[in-house]
């Protein structure tokens, strides 16, 4: 079996402080030149995992290899300090040294490895040009805007041409507009320079738009890993489904049906046809999940009857809550005058948008 060579591999990693286990048996590999994102809510252990790869946290057990070399091996007692791992990192706080100029910040990885200022000049200026900061070299680092500091941090990470760049929520401190712009610049930069990236974020939009593969984490463990399309198309657990915005998750009784689909009977006796990518169509109790934007709510049409209980307007869309027996279904549609509170409606979800969750 031919495989992409691993730039970074993490096996059975456990990191903890005192009585808390922040990362509990995490394994994944990143291929050379790939962009992998660790995605999850705060406190899920994603940043701790990244810092352990960098050598900034000391794990309890497991193995971490970079470019085929074990930089951490709990059983063998191997633990390389961060400076010997040959990585670059962009920090959430940017960590731009305020006592240095922009040039000296970017040249730091060269300086500490004994490369003279003159010898590093070409590489540093190229990196500054890549992030649109050509000519900013002599500026004191303190006289930069947040966005510019972010660019300096990026330039510092790519100037030395490390094969692996770690990024810890690099865009979370920027305002919304700048964040979208920097996201696409980051993506261009990685394609152009071809480095391997491990990226930590809690923002699913960032994760899906940048990544080749995504690791969804929760409470120190991996919930699901795969390509953005795999995860978006078939979240494996209730946690991943709700993290991706599938607000409608209900208990259901599953029975096999035709075309590889199953039939799911909900508590309001609605029967929905659904995909079952994580089961084999076996009957029994399971959960059913669908995204609010996939719920078709109409005044008169086929589907289950219900009543609109609440409407929340949100600009171009509106959230509509429909009571259907003991359930409350959430739908997102364009605002419509006849879908007002108290009106009788019907709702329906297409089989391809409806998913059985086995965990």
């Amino acid at each position: 079996m031919s495989e992409v060579r691993a730039a970074v591999s993490v096996e059975e990693l456990v990191v903890g402080y005192g009585g808390v286990t922040a990362v509990d048996g995490v394994s994944f590999t990143v291929g050379v030149g790939e962009h992998l994102t660790l995605l999850g809510p705060s406190g899920c252990g994603k940043t701790t995992t990244l810092r352990a790869i960098a050598g900034l946290e000391s794990p309890r057990s497991g193995r971490i290899a970079i470019d085929g070399v074990h930089v951490y091996d709990g059983a063998a007692g191997v633990e390389a300090p961060p400076e010997d791992r040959g990585l670059s990192m962009v920090f959430q706080s940017y960590a731009i040294w305020p006592h240095m100029s922009v040039f000296d910040n970017v040249a730091f990885p060269f300086r500490v490895r004994g490369v003279s200022r003159e010898a590093s000049r070409t590489a540093v200026e190229r990196a500054l040009a890549l992030v649109d900061l050509a000519g900013f070299g002599d500026r004191p680092a303190t006289r930069l805007s947040g966005g510019q500091q972010q660019r300096v941090a990026l330039a510092r990470a790519v100037a030395f041409e490390s094969k692996v760049v770690l990024l810890d929520e690099p865009l979370s401190n920027l305002d919304a507009q700048l964040r979208v712009q920097m996201r696409s610049e980051l993506s261009d930069l990685r394609r152009r320079l071809g480095f391997t990236a491990i990226y930590v974020t809690h923002d699913q939009e960032e994760a899906f738009s940048l990544s080749d593969s995504i690791v969804v984490m929760r409470a120190g463990r991996i919930e699901q890993q795969g390509s953005p399309a795999d995860i978006q198309g078939a979240p494996r657990t209730r946690f991943v489904a709700s993290f991706l915005g599938m607000r409608n998750i209900f208990e259901a009784e599953i029975t096999p049906a035709t075309d590889g689909l199953v039939e799911a009977r909900l508590a309001d006796d609605t029967v929905l046809r659904a995909r079952d990518p994580w089961g084999d169509g076996r009957p029994g109790k399971a959960a059913i999940a669908f995204h609010p934007s996939n719920v078709d709510v109409r005044k008169h049409a086929g589907g289950t009857a219900g009543t609109v209980t609440r409407v929340l307007f949100g600009g171009v869309t509106a959230q509509i809550f429909v009571s259907s027996g003991p359930l409350e279904i959430c739908a997102v549609t364009r605002p419509q005058a006849d879908l007002a509170e108290g009106r009788p409606v019907t709702w329906h979800v297409a089989p391809e948008d409806c998913l059985v969750l086995r965990e």
Binding site: G68, V71, E83, R85, P109, V112
Partner: protein
């Protein structure tokens, strides 16, 4: 997988282990030596020295009197000044606040000498003036217990003042407001809310003062010894300097002092542990000022009286004595010139040696304490090392260790260590100074490090800098404003040190304060005044530099 990394000692572990060894050698070795010296004689275990000491009831009583008296008076004055200058609309608060802490920078030796001239029973200037003008035979008598307590308290007032005023500033005024809203009178709110909240700070400062006062040497040497009033500090000095020196007996005194201060530190910790207050949020509040009407002028006057007694009067007396041809109160006989400065600068043989030693010691002490403080502070703030508790506790022990006891311990340690012949050299003084001021360096550096985002260091590590390069290229430059201020203050304190130096110096390693003390013992009052003025001038220059660095740090 290909080749694996070789196993090696991480830099963090090496640094932590190294610092543990250093603090053990600096702090624990002399403490251990004092215990050993007090309980052993050449024949083996012997408690004779201890028994001798415990039976000297008078000196023990004097020491406790000075210890408790000084502490009570200093905390009372310091606390009152803090209230007057922080919580009341006293006119000239800003200037007064600067003046009230000046005694920190003037060694108590000089204050004591000045007050001994002002208040000695017969020839004291105040008494002479009193006799001439008021016809009162003896206005004041500062020789003896009262004088020692009075002058020592004057000298140590800044410690309680700083701690209590800090606590008052960190207190949310809403706490008092809510007591008032719920029906308490202003006085009641003060007694039931404010006082208990500043109690930990007051107790903490009382501990600091008490440790210093129990081991006090210079003040009782000047104001006590002439009238036969001995305390532990002067008793230790007498035992070491008489022939033959009685080290065992001195060590027993050291152990006794150590036992008393350790007991009180433990008691204080026990008292404070049971009451934990979350009033210090790291946020500074604007304290609510109490308006007291015309009484505010009287309160300002009270504060100025303190400044006059602790700073203006002693410094003016020293200046006057350094310039006047001979000490007299008859204005017709007074003539002023620079002959005493000429004598001190060009004739007196010890001036240059002492000044050189003091400056060297000041520079080396300040540098080493800042360096060690940064290292220890870094381990405390940035690592999860199991040695943190040990480093924290041991590096704070000198706060509970009177410096004369520390000096005794060093004497005892190095007099017998032939492979490290530092006894009788300037290095043993350096060890004493570095150990004595170590807690100050650790506190200053830890505070600065807590202000520094740890990712600034992480970024350097990931960029390829090892731990020591990171400390040198990132941590040191970023903590420089704090460390520079700490360095200068340490320099000022070190060039004025008396209590440890007096036991450890030799004729080759004399320092400025010892030279001043020598001149005092020789009765050469005018030369002594001139030398003191020179010492104060160095302090003043250094202090100006601190204030300027601080202003620059604020401006940046």
């Amino acid at each position: 997988m290909a080749a694996t990394q070789r196993i090696r000692l991480p830099a963090e572990t090496a640094l932590t282990a190294g610092l543990c060894v250093v603090v053990t050698a600096l702090v624990l070795a002399p403490v251990f030596a004092v215990v050993l010296g007090a309980t052993h004689e050449t024949g083996g275990l012997s408690l004779r020295s201890l028994v001798n000491v415990v039976s000297s009831a008078r000196v023990i009583g004097n020491t406790l009197l000075v210890g408790f008296g000084t502490t009570a008076l200093a905390v009372l004055i310091g606390g009152a000044l803090a209230l007057i200058l922080v919580r009341i609309d006293t006119p000239g608060r800003g200037l007064l606040e600067q003046c009230v802490i000046l005694p920190l920078y003037i060694t108590p030796l000089l204050t004591a000498i000045a007050w001994s001239w002002l208040g000695s029973p017969r020839g004291g200037l105040l008494n002479v003036v009193g006799r001439e003008l008021l016809g009162i035979d003896q206005l004041v008598n500062l020789h003896g217990a009262a004088g020692v307590v009075f002058v020592a308290a004057l000298a140590y007032v800044p410690l309680p003042f700083l701690l209590v005023s800090g606590a008052l500033r960190a207190m949310d005024p809403a706490l008092e407001d809510s007591a008032r809203v719920h029906g308490a009178s202003a006085a009641h709110a003060f007694a039931r809310v404010t006082l208990p909240l500043v109690l930990p700070a007051a107790l903490g400062s009382a501990m600091l003062v008490f440790v210093q006062a129990m081991g006090l040497f210079s003040v009782p040497a000047v104001l006590g010894m002439p009238s036969g009033f001995y305390v532990a500090g002067t008793e230790i000095y007498r035992l070491i300097n008489n022939y033959p020196p009685r080290f065992g007996q001195a060590a027993a005194w050291g152990l006794l002092l150590l036992a008393v201060t350790a007991l009180l530190v433990w008691l204080q910790a026990a008292v404070l542990q049971r009451r934990s207050f979350v009033t210090v949020t790291g946020k500074a509040f604007r304290p609510r000022l109490v308006l007291v009407g015309r009484a505010r002028y009287s309160l300002a006057a009270v504060a100025w009286v303190y400044v006059a007694a602790a700073v203006i009067l002693p410094v003016a007396t020293l200046l006057w004595a350094s310039l006047v041809n001979f000490i007299t109160v008859d204005p017709k006989l007074m003539a002023f010139d620079l002959r005493h400065f000429r004598y001190v600068l060009f004739t007196y043989p010890k001036t240059y040696l002492a000044a050189q030693n003091s400056l060297l010691l000041g520079i080396a002490t300040a540098t080493l304490v800042c360096g060690l403080g940064l290292g220890i502070g870094w381990v405390l703030v940035r690592t999860q090392s199991r040695a943190r508790g040990f480093l924290d506790q041991v590096s704070m022990i000198p706060l509970a260790l009177p410096s004369i006891v520390l000096a005794l311990g060093l004497l005892w340690t190095y007099v017998g260590v032939s492979w490290l012949p530092i006894y009788g050299t300037i290095f043993i003084l350096l060890l004493a100074y570095v150990t004595h001021y170590l807690p100050f360096g650790v506190r200053a550096a830890s505070g600065a490090l807590r202000q520094l985002h740890p990712e600034l260091e992480d970024a350097a590590r990931v960029s390829g800098a090892g731990l020591f390069k990171t400390l040198w290229l990132v941590v040191l430059p970023l903590t420089r404003p704090t460390l520079a201020a700490a360095w200068t203050l340490l320099f000022i304190l070190a060039i004025q040190e008396v209590s440890a130096s007096i036991l450890l110096y030799t004729s080759r390693t004399t320092v400025m304060s010892v030279a001043v003390f020598d001149l005092w013992e020789a009765g050469n009052v005018n030369a002594l005044a001139a030398l003191s003025v020179l010492q104060l001038a160095i302090t003043f220059v250094a202090l100006t530099l601190v204030l300027r660095t601080r202003q620059r740090a604020v401006a940046a």
